[in-house]
Symmetry: C2
Subunit: 244 residues, 2 copies
DNA sequence: GGCCTGCCTTGATAAATGTCAAGACTTCAA
DNA sequence: TTGAAGTCTTGACATTTATCAAGGCAGGCC
């Protein structure tokens, strides 16, 4: 049976997807079937991938580039999260065959693997190992949002920024400097504040040894940042080591 | 094999648990085993059931009464949600064998069914139908917190209150009145504001035909409430019909 | 170069929200 | 009954956050 998917999906990409926890334990043949039904699409920057409220047609996976999930109400907009390779998104909507609750747009030019929702649901029905991997994936997603909600409800803006900076600092090697991976307008929205307020929060943190130069941030003391943030492992989920 | 669980778990209670989506499709014998290992505990009001940070020993199910999930940071506290019968809670922590991210306390005297976490995980490993029910349950939980986060980030306090009142109004029969199911201090925390601010938000809504007398709320126009809330189906998830 | 445009910052001001304090009221138990 | 404790409301005020406006600065384009 010929593939209906994009032939541009290289073996290398398949291996990357296969290495995700979500797909690792899946039956090999079924995995191939799933990917053969999938499309690998290239998108330029700032392209809307998903509008909230639409029925969920595809499970999306960022192979390359950067994707922002956001939500709107009337004229307002809020960034929910920013995804880097390799991550899946809107899995819950796909499984429930429900409408998307969040919108998605590319931030940079990106390659997105799109697996038809029907196939994903069928694979879950047929493949017991896959069903259990989905459980783990969803439990992780759920706990992620719970942490986020605690962050929003229990911390002030400056504390959220301090926590974010400490997180990035660790992630990027904990050597006194970090580069903001996203522009400040988006960062502000993600942290639940306005861009103006983010600027002011940065200047508040100057007295704690934080110096900002464009996207570059110098950090004098990670511990002081954590103290300002009132660091709590049950909110922050900092990595142990830098991301590779 | 004799039951190690509480003999007080009546058949009637078993049927109630069995009727939950989470357990409905489970193998019958396995379901019995699971409940035989469980404890049905009675707790007085205001008793801590779970402290965040503790390892997850049991899946909890509110059979009777009322349970609040909350989170703390330093001296601060925030109500995450309030659970009524019959609901499970902290499923994600149990499945991941991770620490609880939220604390739980009874609000009223309650009966809680506690299923040892090990047994739940074993049941998920052994029972394919159960694993798939868990997927659905977790997907629902995930989408619930996403809605909540949108509510927090995209709405003001007054809008959140208006939305809450509209929700309760529908739930309770949409006949111009409703009874607040929880005290105002907790409601305020759940809606992300202080009790003083909740009071003021209520008076702001007076001009929209909302009259408060203790826990009783008279609503002149549900539509006006929804308009004030900037009602959006992708945030609110209002019920179609009153809860029975 | 010159001129956009968009991003970011800063200041002034407004609005939203939180804090403190006081008092009315209820509940509960001595 | 009385007192104590807790809840809720209200007012005064402080803080936080948002909005509006202006200007600096960098990158892209003619």
């Amino acid at each position: 049976m010929p593939s209906i998917g994009d032939p541009d999906l290289r073996d290398e990409d398949k291996q990357i997807v296969r290495s995700l926890n979500l797909f690792r334990d899946m039956d090999a043949e079924r995995f191939d079937d799933l990917l053969n039904a999938a499309f690998l699409q290239r998108f330029p920057e700032r392209v809307i991938l998903i509008n909230e409220g639409e029925p969920s047609d595809f499970l999306h996976i960022v192979i390359d580039g950067c994707v922002e999930l956001f939500a709107t109400l009337d004229g307002r907009e809020s960034t929910m999260t920013v995804l880097t390779p390799v991550s899946t998104f809107i899995l819950a909507a796909v499984l429930k065959d429900a409408v998307y609750l969040m919108s998605a747009r590319t931030r940079t030019a990106s390659r997105i693997l799109m697996i038809p929702a029907k196939n994903v649901r069928q694979a879950m029905a047929d493949d017991d190992a896959f069903a259990r991997s989905i459980v783990t994936e969803l439990a992780n997603c759920y706990r992620g949002v719970v942490r986020n909600q605690k962050n929003l409800k229990l911390r002030t803006s400056v504390e959220r920024l301090a926590s974010y900076l400490a997180h990035q600092h660790i992630r990027q090697g904990a050597n006194g400097k970090l580069t903001l991976p996203i522009d400040k307008k988006t960062l502000a929205s993600m942290l639940g504040m306005t861009p103006e307020n983010l600027s002011r929060s940065f200047s508040t943190l100057r007295r704690a040894g934080v110096t900002v130069t464009g996207p570059e941030v110098a950090v004098e003391s990670q511990d002081e940042l954590k103290e300002i943030a009132r660091h709590a492992p049950l909110i922050d989920n900092f990595p142990d080591k830098p991301a590779e």
